[in-house]
Symmetry: D2
Subunit: 120 residues, 4 copies
C-alpha cells in the first residue's frame, strides 16, 4: 500500500542557508525554518509559540536557496518527512527528523533585489 507523507510550512529562515557541493556537482542546502503561531491563554492574553524545522534542499532547489534565500527570508515550503539516526561517542543513538523540500516559493523576494553573498 502506498501512502502520503507531506509537510507544508510557511515561515522564516533563522540564518543564511548552508550550501554544500557534493560529488557529481550536486548541491545541498540546509537551514532552520521558524513557524510561529499566536494563541490566547485562558486569561485572554496573546502568546506567540515558535517551532523550528530542519530543512534540506537538493540540486535545483538548493541552488535557488543559495541565490535567493537569506536569514529572515519568508518561504512557503512543501516536502516530506525523513528521520535518520546516528550513534554518538557514548554509543547513544540520536534521531534527526528533517523536511526534504520538494516545492519552494519565496514570499518576500523583490524582483531584481540585490542580495549579500553567502559567507563561505
Amino acid at each position: 500500500m502506498r501512502g502520503i507523507n507531506k509537510v507544508t510550512l510557511i515561515g522564516n529562515l533563522g540564518k543564511d542557508p548552508e550550501i554544500n557541493i557534493l560529488d557529481g556537482n550536486v548541491a545541498v542546502a540546509k537551514f532552520s525554518l521558524a513557524t510561529s503561531e499566536t494563541y490566547r491563554d485562558k486569561a485572554g492574553q496573546a502568546h506567540t509559540s515558535t517551532d523550528w524545522h530542519s530543512v534540506v534542499l537538493w540540486r535545483g532547489l538548493a541552488e535557488l536557496a543559495q541565490a535567493y534565500l537569506r536569514k529572515g527570508s519568508l518561504v512557503y515550503l512543501e516536502g516530506k518527512l525523513k528521520t535518520r539516526h546516528y550513534d554518538d561517542a557514548a554509543g547513544q543513538r540520536h534521531y534527526v527528523t528533517e523536511i526534504i523540500g520538494e516545492q519552494l516559493l519565496m514570499l518576500d523576494k523583490k524582483p531584481g533585489e540585490q542580495l549579500s553573498p553567502l559567507a563561505p
Copy 2:
C-alpha cells in the same frame, strides 16, 4: 508574522497505540505510523521505501485511537510538527520530532467491527 505548520500522512500503525491517562483525566495516545512509497531505480526495478513517524494524540483523538486503532490500521492524519529535547545520562542532548494530530480519519474501519482490547 503567523505561519503554517502542517503535516498530512496516510499510513499504517506499526503497533497498537500506547494510551496514558494524565492528571485531570486527559488521555494521550502514542504510536508509530509507517508511510510507504514505491519508486523505480535506473534499471526499472521497483523498490519500496518506508518512513516512520512518531504520532501523539490528545483527548478526544486519543480516545478514538484507543477505541478504534490497532496495529496495521490505515489512517489519514493531519497535524503539526513539534520538536522537543531531553538530555541523556551522558549529558548529550537528544531531539525528538513528533506529529501532534489534529484530524484523524480511519480508512479501513468496518462498521460494527469487533476490536481486540488493548494490552494493559
Copy 3:
C-alpha cells in the same frame, strides 16, 4: 509571482468513471467524487453534509481509474482547480470548476480483487 493551487480530497465515486480516448491515444477519465462531513446542530443532533466534486484525470491516472476505480470506490486525490466556461444555446455563459488530478491513492483496493468491466 508563482502561487499555489492545490486540492486534497478523500471521498467516494458516485458512479463508474467515464473514460475517453483522445487523439494520440491519450486517455481521460471523469467522475464525481463525494466528500462527506458530519456535524452537530445546536440541538446536538448529528447531520451529514455531502459535497460533490468534478474530477478529471489524464493519461496514466485515467488508465488507473479505468482499471481500478468503480462506483463507490474510496480514493485520496490531490490535484489543482481549473475553471473553464462555455456559452449555452441562449448565449448565457456557464462556468465549470474541475479538479485536475495529480496524485491518486486507492484506499479500498483489495489485492487481486476482480472488478466488473466498465460499461462501454
Copy 4:
C-alpha cells in the same frame, strides 16, 4: 464515512473584496483570487498560466479581509470547496464553485501599514 475536502491557495486578489453585512450582523467577504504558475513549452519557452478562484469568507475572516485585504494583496488561504447552483431566466441551471475560507494568512502586510478605505 467522513472525508476530506481541502483547498490550499497562494495568490493575489484581483480586486478589493466585496463586503456584505447580513442579518444578525454577520459579515461576508467575496473576492477573486489569482494563482499563477510558470511552465516551459516543448521549445523551452516560459509561459505563465493563471487560474481564478471565487473565495467566500464569513464572520471574523470577512472582517479581516475588510480591514487588511485590497486588490493585489498576496494571501495564503485554506478552505473547502462548495458548489451551489441557480437557474437563470431561460431556466438553465448554472453551477458555481466557491472556496469557503477557513484559514487566512496575509503574506505582504506591513505592520502598521495604512490602507485606503474600501469603496462603499
